[in-house]
């Protein structure tokens, strides 16, 4: 999909140049053009989804499609800033559309009220990147499998209370460029010998270096075998957030929803139980995840959505613009500690 850049209009309008000035100065015009030719699907307009929507719309993608089957509740108004307080009962994607569009009239924003599970494969294939929030593990695995083989960039992310993660699958061969300073030959001072008589190379000049990165599927990332000797040895350096993610995804699969503050007591108990089951099934120690996390993973915390949504949004921008090294392949954020780590999980 990215290869279709050649078809886009070469001229950046005055309006775009003025509005995007401060970001063009950061990532360059080529990157901005690639963004301007990209279409993105965003599933889930909860707290995290709204942040990602804002970030991508402001970045200036060609189109952003919002897909969410949920209805607006009182909780949703507290969780995100795109849904008007008067929109209770409406579809969340459609209720978010107006404010999302206002963020940047130059982006084509669309909204659909359907369940992602009900969408045919074709639907997903019309995009350059797909971003899944609030989705079940099965759906994410399916969509990832479908899309990444077609060179469609796949991202997943969620926020659970103080915790959040994002995952990316940019395919087996993701090409990008990095800007490096041009190596200047010695003689930089102003009062050197004969060299100084030649025209000066600006020490700030840079050059673009081409690189490639390879990503595994979500399925592979989640199905790491912890029984191997190598895996066991690496456990010490492994963020426990990875295991927490398994627990929360399982909760979502089993209950069809996330932990709810309204049912704090039972959900807490269930979480502890699922924790035990998951750790056992992964053949890792039950001590890895203490009980502590339980009361901190309810609801989507706005500042945590902002952090995870910021990182996730920037990863989408990087992937679409094919500029700068992507994080590979998970980012975990712990809002209680202020820790944000990037780590790779997959077949070694």
């Amino acid at each position: 999909m990215i290869d279709m850049i050649e078809k886009e209009e070469p001229i950046i309008s005055e309006e775009e140049a003025a509005q995007y000035d401060r970001q063009i100065r950061l990532w360059g015009l080529d990157a901005q053009k690639r963004l301007r030719g990209s279409r993105v699907l965003l599933v889930g307009l909860g707290g995290l989804g709204a942040e990602v929507a804002k970030n991508l719309i402001l970045a200036g993608v060609k189109g952003l499609t919002l897909l969410d089957h949920e209805q607006v509740t009182e909780e949703s108004c507290r969780a995100q800033f795109l849904v008007p307080v008067t929109a209770r009962g409406q579809n969340r994607a459609q209720a978010s559309l107006e404010r999302a569009q206002y963020l940047n009239p130059m982006v084509e924003v669309r909204a659909y009220p359907d369940r992602p599970e009900d969408k045919p494969d074709d639907f997903f294939l019309q995009f350059d990147a797909v971003c899944l929030t609030g989705c079940s593990r099965d759906l994410m695995v399916r969509v990832d499998q479908l899309c990444s083989q077609r060179n469609i960039k796949v991202f997943c992310g969620d926020v659970y209370g103080y915790y959040g993660y994002m995952f990316s699958d940019l395919g087996k061969e993701h090409h990008y460029v990095e800007e490096k300073p041009k190596t200047v030959k010695p003689a930089q001072g102003s009062s050197d010998g004969p060299e100084a008589k030649k025209a000066k190379i600006d020490p700030n000049e840079t050059t673009m270096v081409k690189k490639t990165a390879s990503f595994c599927s979500l399925k592979e990332a989640l199905e790491v075998d912890w029984t191997s000797e190598k895996a066991k040895a690496s456990l010490k350096r492994t963020p426990v957030d990875y295991f927490l993610l398994h627990v929360l995804l399982k909760f979502r699969t089993d209950k069809g929803r996330d932990p709810d503050p309204q049912s704090f007591a039972e959900d807490s108990q269930l979480l502890r139980q699922i924790r035990d089951d998951v750790l056992e099934s992964l053949a890792v120690s039950g001590d890895l995840l203490s009980d502590d996390f339980v009361s901190y993973c309810f609801s989507e915390m706005s500042p945590v959505c902002a952090v995870v949504g910021g990182v996730l949004g920037q990863e989408v921008v990087k992937a679409l613009s094919q500029r700068d090294a992507p994080h590979r392949n998970f980012f975990f954020f712990d809002g209680r500690k202020g820790n944000g780590v990037v780590d790779y999980f997959g077949p070694n």
Binding site: P10, I11, Q19, D21, R22, Q23, R25, L26, W27, L29, E51, K54, N55, L58, G60, C77, R78, Q80, F81, V83, P84, V85, R99, Y102, N104, G161, E179, S190, S191, G193, A196, K197, K200, D202, P239, P261, F264, F298, S299, M301, S302, P303, V304, C305, A306, V307, G309, G310, V311, G313, Q314, V317, H327, F331, K337, G338, N339, G340, V341, V342
Partner: protein, 636 residues
Amino acid sequence: MVQLVGSLRKELADSLSSCRVLVVGAGGIGCELLKNLVLTGFKNIEVIDLDTIDVSNLNRQFLFQKKHVGKSKAQVAKESALQFCPTANITAYHDSIMNPDYNVEFFRNFMLVMNALDNRAARNHVNRMCLAADIPLIESGTAGYLGQVTVIKKGLTECYECQPKPSQKTFPGCTIRNTPSEPIHCIVWAKYLFNWLCSRGHCVLYLCGSQLFGEEDADQEVSPDTADPEAAWNPEEAAARATASEKDGDIKRVSTKEWARSTGYDSIKLFNKLFKDDIMYLLTMDKLWKKRKAPLPLDWQQLENHARPQEDSPGSGLKDQQVLGIWGYCKLFQHSVETLRSQLEQKGDGAELVWDKDDPPAMDFVTAAANLRMHIFSMNMKSRFDIKSMAGNIIPAIATTNAVIAGLIVLEGLKILSGELESCRSIFLNKCPNLRKKLLVPCVLDPPSANCYVCASKPEVTVKLNVHKSMVVFLQDKILKERFGMVAPDVQIEDGKGTILISSEEGETEANNSKFLSDFGIRNGSRLQADDFLQDYTLLINVLHTEDLEKDVEFEVVGDAPDKAPPPPSNQEETNSITNGNKDSAQPSTSSKEMKTDGCFMWRQRKKKSVQENPCTRPSVVLFLPKTDLCTGPNI
């Protein structure tokens, strides 16, 4: 049994809805922060910003839309935030936080203050107000992909000023005027040229040290520096030149401006003077060119004869990113001078223009003049786009970095309100994960520095200067205000009589301004007590007299590391030195008048390592002189 309201414990949620918080700044970080505060459940928020909305803000300051351009940021931010939380109680102030209305009592109203600023002066000021009011302060900043958050609490942590921050990079006068070697030198020169031509400037000249200065913009001299020590073959000659310049040189300088006016700002005459005659003059200072490539003067007529029609490449780039040929910049110079002249004419007698990067003829002028000079000194010319970045001290900015930092600010805020100060951290956002896989790096907060000249119990400093050559107004403006961050200083001499040297009351001590410190009996070992009552700040200054300062250096604070500017943070993964603001950034400031800045972030300390040295830097603090009238200034 734990009770939750959303993600939060009930006690915390309750205290959020009752406490009052202050957000200083409604720009990139401010918009994101307001949104997070409101969604998290804060109910009583006050936000202050002196700025209005510009179209270049819209890529990240998402509470604003195109229709809001020109309006007050604080006001529109409030209105937009109320849209998604109508029950929030938000007060907006379109004002400067340094306004004395916002005194210690004002700050005491809040449980928490959060900065979302882009310049050091305001940060210093809010730092002191929060210390005085003993209110926790969350500091933050961003630039490009990088960002930082930290917490400041009196007595518990370092204050904002505990660690010395690199000061604004400046260039020695002779580099700007005689021997530029980098594009930035030419850009600085071009901006000075603009001020020189378009605003009140030099008329009466003062001798100070070995250099002659004009009134007001003494540091913005553009014509060849005949007193350049490098130019002289021997000391006697240097002295002779210095004396000669008193007669020829200064008359020349006065004439430059008067002359420009008298020729009616004739662009071609101006061109030939600046880019031919002055360059030829420089060439006579042949010692300068022994080891450097000599500049090549330009001749308008010759260039016109050789001009080839510019190939119009519609290209796929921004028009601004094109680099024209030399004739293209000649024409641009001519055109912009003509436009500026008519702007001045329209404004009438005594008209002045202030340089503004967003004013097209002003930007065109600097683009053209800088490029012409770069060409003369054998540097590759640059596009208007690139020159604007340097001349305008633009720091690139995106929504996502601000979103992350604003999220972290609220998380620290929650810790503070929960009474968990010991769990607060400084958190750094990197572009790439570090060796320990961290993209976000939390660090334990440092305790206050015992010698901090702001938060120590009895702050004291020693300042090295020449009491016979430093004027009172210089002490006030360059030392107390600029260096020590006071807004309205009062100074007494500890001479047993409590002689008042400077009063913050307008007019009271104006007569002292152009007197020298020694005129008041100040000498080596004297002590001055400087107060800023608004900031509730007293600083004792020990005077160390010296006749022996480096060229272009007018004072030194003893104990400071020598000024070294860190290398400009380019696209690298992690940097040890992040600068403090557009005005103070590694990109040297090219104007002391420019108030608008564009995003900045804070000083990063990693195990108290000192700043990486840039061997080419020499500080150039220039003597500031009082404004005096055209013909009535003191003669020396």
